[in-house]
């Protein structure tokens, strides 16, 4: 029954194995602490974003929200609001994520990056499950057609997830060294929502506005996703290269800031 832990020097493959183990342990722990074992437990992970999306869908349907197209409102709302939840919840969960987990850092193999990655995976998983379930559900009751190009939808979704994850890593690690970041994130997330392309399509905007709105990286992801979903019915405006460059930069900044935090963090 003895379990000996390998000694000091570890190879890259071993480190990868350890990291995978640690992240999985953190994911399970996070699920238990957040949702517990009561009522539907971990199902809340995607039921909560589903409820949000359904509520917004109902609201937009009722108000016949002006989105500048003749696209079916249910599909429009489900694709739009799910995208918002995807990129917005990840940074939300990463802000000040270390504080409640400081005691875990007593274990050498638990590093700040693992805490961030576990939270990012959990949020991305929840938002993705919610999106898929809603599409299946609304299709089942006949309110929504399946996407024209599933691969393109998946591509757009992955780009938005990458954006959310890199933003999460960056904002999260920055919030450890600056209180201001935490305060600024909430209004920023609030104001970015209406600008994110969730509630409109770029083609319906005036030309000058298109130029400005396309500076926001997530708009490109949402447009790509919508092109996959509605295909020939919309004219999408996006530049995957621009978004990929933005995401790469943000990822590198996030990793650098996380490395900096790892050097100064003090376990509780």
């Amino acid at each position: 029954m003895r379990t000996f832990v390998q000694s000091g020097a570890v190879s890259l493959i071993q480190s990868w194995r350890i990291q995978r183990r640690v992240i999985w342990a953190l994911v399970l722990r996070e699920i238990l602490t957040r949702y517990g074992r009561h009522n539907i437990g971990f199902l809340w992970l995607f039921v909560e974003p589903m409820l949000y999306t359904v509520a917004v869908t109902a609201l937009w349907t009722a108000s016949r929200s002006v989105h500048g197209t003749n696209l079916p409102i249910v599909a429009f709302a489900v694709t739009g609001y799910s995208s918002v939840l995807l990129w917005r919840n990840m940074p939300g969960r990463c802000v000040k994520a270390l504080e409640p987990n400081l005691s875990l850092l007593y274990h050498r193999n638990v590093r700040p990056i693992d805490i961030y990655l576990s939270r990012l995976m959990l949020e991305a998983g929840g938002a993705t499950t919610s999106f898929v379930m809603l599409v299946l559900f609304f299709h089942f009751i006949g309110w929504l057609d399946f996407p024209e190009d599933v691969l393109k939808v998946a591509g757009g979704w992955c780009m938005i997830a990458w954006f959310g994850a890199s933003l999460g890593l960056f904002i999260g690690s920055l919030s450890e060294s600056s209180e201001t970041i935490e305060k600024l994130w909430h209004p920023a997330a609030y104001i970015l929502f209406p600008l994110s392309g969730a509630a409109f399509i770029v083609d319906a905007l005036p030309r000058e506005a298109q130029h400005f709105i396309l500076m926001l990286p997530m708009v490109h992801g949402v447009e790509l996703l919508r092109e996959g979903y509605f295909g020939s019915r919309i004219v999408a405006h996006y530049d995957v290269t621009y978004m990929a460059l933005f995401n790469t930069t943000l990822t590198l900044l996030g990793l650098a800031q996380t490395a900096k935090v790892s050097r100064i963090v003090v376990p509780e």
């Binding site: 379990t3 000694s7 640690v22 399970l28 602490t33 875990l104 050498r108 003090v266």
Partner: protein, 220 residues
């Protein structure tokens, strides 16, 4: 072997940076039991966190040539809303151990019985300490790092811990930090004194104690 070379640790404070550890050198051979004496605030816990790798030095090198435990006997690494069992499983997952083999031992050793399935926040401090110690005994290491607070629980439980750690694992290396001279005297083969951020080494145990007590007398 564990080797610290020229290790410095600086913490930022409002009054400016404070150098808690200054050029600390320390070598621990396998099977060796090193005691580190120091008064409150001398930097003992910081030193042991650096040895464990939980914290990184500001300058200097920490090399670990054997497997090293986390700093044992910190009471607080438990999530209050999780049960004792959840916390046990978490530690097993982190270190790649199979929790099923360990549950019986922890249940028996911690004497928690059915309470192992209850949230840790409902435990008394004694129960928490028993759980913490039992959990820290389920993963085997070449070197155990022990913070003084291990002297928890009643005398009988204390004795049980001593047996588990110092007799059953008598062949392992240990680094023990404490302000209590007799604890170090009973369990260590070598002693060093941490004072003013510097780690003083001594050839003989007794020299370390006389240095430590003289210094304490001066400060009083």
């Amino acid at each position: 072997m564990i080797r610290l070379t020229g290790v410095n640790k600086v913490y930022p404070t409002r009054a400016g940076p404070v150098n808690i550890l200054k050029d600390v050198n320390l070598t621990v051979e396998s099977g060796e039991r090193v005691g580190i004496l120091g008064r409150n605030g001398a930097g003992k816990s910081t030193l042991i966190r650096l040895v464990s790798g939980a914290e990184l030095p500001t300058r200097g090198l920490v090399e670990r040539g054997m497997s090293v435990s986390w700093p044992l006997a910190f009471g607080g690494a438990f999530q209050g809303s999780l049960t004792g069992l959840d916390n046990l499983r978490f530690i097993c997952r982190i270190y790649g151990a199979n929790p099923d083999d360990k549950i019986a031992f922890v249940q028996e050793f911690s004497e928690l019985g059915i309470y192992l399935g209850e949230p840790v926040k409902s435990y008394s401090s004694g129960m928490r300490a028993r759980l913490a110690f039992a959990i820290s005994m389920i993963i085997e290491f070449d070197c155990f790092l022990i913070d003084e607070v291990i002297a928890v629980g009643d005398a009988r439980f204390h004795e049980k811990c001593g047996h588990e750690l110092f007799e059953k694992r008598g062949d392992r290396a240990m680094v023990i930090v404490s302000h209590d001279g007799s604890y170090i005297r009973n369990h260590c083969t070598r002693a060093a004194v941490l004072s003013g951020g510097e780690l003083h080494h001594f050839e003989k145990m007794e020299d370390a104690f006389s240095f430590y007590y003289e210094e304490a007398a001066l400060a009083a």
